[in-house]
Each structure stands twice: as C-alpha cells, then as structure tokens.
Amino acid sequence: MTDTDVLIVGAGPTGLFCAHQLGIIGLKCEIVDNLDKLGGQCIELYPDKPIYDIPAIPECTGEELTNSLIEQIKPFNFKSHLSDRVQEIKNENNKWIVKTLKGKEFLTPNIVIAGGVGSFEPRKFPSKNCEKFEGKSVLYSIKDKDIFKDKKVVIFGGGDSALDWTIELSKNSKVTLVHRRDEFRGAQSSVDKIKELENNKKIEILTQYSIKDVLGNENLETVEIKNEKGESKTINTDYVLGFFGLIMQLGPILDWGLNLDKKTIPVNTENFETNKKGIFAIGDICTYPGKLKLILSGFHEGALAARGCFKYARPNEKYRFEFTTTSKTVKDRIGVKE
C-alpha cells in the first residue's frame, strides 16, 4: 500500500497543475489516469488543436500545454499510474484507502478528483449479443495480433485505428472493413492503402453499412450488417473488431456516495471539497454557481484544493502562504539554485 498526502484522480491539465501546487506547498501526491499518457482530454481529443485562452499564452496546442505542465511538475518527482483506474474507496480512521482496477492500493487523507467528464473507455457496439462475445471474439482493442492469423476478421470504423488495423491484419487474415459512409476520416495515406488492398482483392470494403447483430452459439459465427435502405447482409467471421473512438464515463466514482448534479460533483468554492471530508473535485467534473469549464478555472480550483488538502495532510502544522518569487523554502522544493 502506498502512503501519500494526496491521490489525484485524472492527469489532465487541472490534475497536473494541482500536483504542482501540492509540490509548492510541500505535499506529496500520486496521480492515477485511465489513459496511457498524461494530459487528459488535451492529449487525447485535441493534441493539435490550438488553445487561445490560457493566461499569458496567446496560443498553444493541447500537446504543448501538456508538455509544459509536465515540465513544471518535474522537480517534485511525483509518481503517475497510467492505464489504471480508481475503483473503490473506503474510509478508515479519517484516511481513505483507494483501490485501483489493477489492484494498486493507496492510503491517503485526501483524494482530488480531476476527472474531467470521466475516464475514456472504448465506444462499444449497441447489440446485446456483442456483450456475450466481448473480450473473446468481439474486441475494441488489440493486445495480441497473432490470434487473428489465418482467421476471418470484420473491422468496423472509419478512423485511423480501423484503417491501421485493416492494413496490418490484411497481411495474415481475411479482412472485411465496414464503415457507415463512403468517406474515411483516417490519414490519406492509409485511405489510399486500403483502396489499393481492395483493388488487389486483399480485403473487402463495405461502406454505408453498420452493425446489426452478431450471431453464434459457443463461438461467434456471423455478423449481420444493415444499410439505410434496410437491406441486410450476413458475413461469416471469427472476429469482430470495433474502432469507434473513446467515450467518457464517470464509472466507479458514481458509487462513492458523492452528491451529484447530472454528471458533475457539487463543491464549495473555498477549497473545492465535496460532501465527503477529504474528497475534493476540480476542473470540468466539479460544479458551483458561476462554474466555467475553462482550463484556467481548473488551475484556480486546483490551487485552492491543494491548500484544502494541507490541513488533513499536516493537521499539526499551520499552512503559511508564500510567493514563489521570494520564498527560499519554495525555491528549494523546485530545486532553484540562488
């Protein structure tokens, strides 16, 4: 079990800057995020899109902002736990025991939820039957591509993941690519490549079709697809793969007994604590009168929540406000040499 002053849930800009503020006031933290990299929505949804409303930065991309924030917290050596998700919490003697999906455990007086609109999960097929085969022959990500060797695979989607896997798997499998419209949104070079594979009869492409259902008893046997005119087709297959991007879901946080307002968590605006002692919420996931879903608001919320964490992490010390320009203690923490 890892003992820490604060556990931050979510490594988007808000979570990262909150970590910075904790470092500045001398607290330790650990960060958990479901994605495989730091940056949250900034890195997953719009790494290349310019942002124009970060104070004092006229223009930067989601990726640039993320890299700067990572640079800013580097001196503190905080540990991040990626591709993992907080699962359950339990209160014991005024501390929280937090368990993650991968089985890690943390003991901490403070949890800061900076989860945006939830954790990213793959978007799934609507059919109930797909759940029956999920993880076996209906897949939303690929861990071991060798299982597809010499098999029949039907891939759904029109983005880069769908196209890249179509190209890769076409080498050793019989691939059918199904997409709901004629245009593909993946990179042009990949689009050209799949057209070439189609012309050489290496793969089959069916557009203007979407999934209707999957059928099979023990094992998956066929997938049914339909078009707008109501026509259906049945394809024999061993595997069905869906690449429809990611959706955001609040997940287990819903079960923590926090007050909820739609998909957000109400907080006070003094330190952004929720209705549970020692659990704070900042960034897009929190709500209060006048809440703006801006990155700069998340920074402010993170700074105040960090001070809120101080009293539970150091109950016998008094928090002293200090400027980074003048405080020697703060400069030592950042590792600035004078």
């Binding site: 929505q41 949804l45 719009y46 609109v117 939830g118 978007r123 609507p126 989607g157 029109g158 983005g159 997409h179 709901r180 419209r181 245009e183 949104r185 979407s210 707008e228 429809f244 991007g245 959706i247 955001m248 879901q249 998909k263 897009d284 879903k293």
Partner: protein, 106 residues
C-alpha cells in the same frame, strides 16, 4: 429567436424558444431537456449532442463541416439525417425546426 421542437426518443415533445446565436445543443442543455448530454460542451470533440433532422429541415441547415461527420462516426446509431446539435446555430430562419433525439448518446 426561434421556436425549436425537441422530440425525445420516447415521443415526448419539448417546444423551446431559443435565442439567436445559441446552438440547438445549448437550447436543450439550458432547458434541461433529457437526451442531449453534450459532454465536451460544444467543442465538436465528442458525439453526445447527436440529433436527427428530417429531410425538409436538414436541407435548410448550413452544411456539415468535415469534422462534424468525423465525430458523427462515433455517435450512437448515426444515419444520413444525423447532426451534432452544437453545430446548428439558431437564427430566425430556423423558427419551427424539429430535431429528433436518439435513443441514447453513447
């Protein structure tokens, strides 16, 4: 100002006056109409404000940008009449617009 009619998947109607300049998504969210989630807040970065617009109105709306169709690929049960309601900006011309909400948003 335009009167926008939102029809939920279960058939329930909501008729709302939406000010010019707001999006059809904002009109729904500000009036607590169920069935439009708008997770990303109008950034065209998700597909949870997905609506269907029947042909008569569909053809009167400004055309979709490429990015909108890319996001619609990720919507629940998209069809040729699908739009992201955050990308439909209300004006007097849209008075009487009818949008149908999907069964769910993910």
């Amino acid at each position: 100002m335009a009167k926008i009619k939102y029809i939920e998947h279960n058939g329930k109607h909501h008729e709302i006056d939406v000010a010019n300049g707001l999006s059809v998504m904002e009109g729904a969210v500000q009036n607590d109409i169920p069935g439009i989630d708008a997770d990303c807040g109008g950034g065209m970065a998700c597909a949870t404000c997905h609506v269907y617009v029947k042909e008569d109105w569909f053809n009167k709306l400004p055309e979709k940008t490429e990015g909108e169709d890319d996001m619609l690929d990720q919507a629940y049960e998209p069809s040729p009449s699908s739009r992201l309601s955050c990308q439909i900006i209300v004006s007097d011309e849209l008075n009487g617009l009818v949008v149908h909400l999907p069964e769910k948003q993910i």
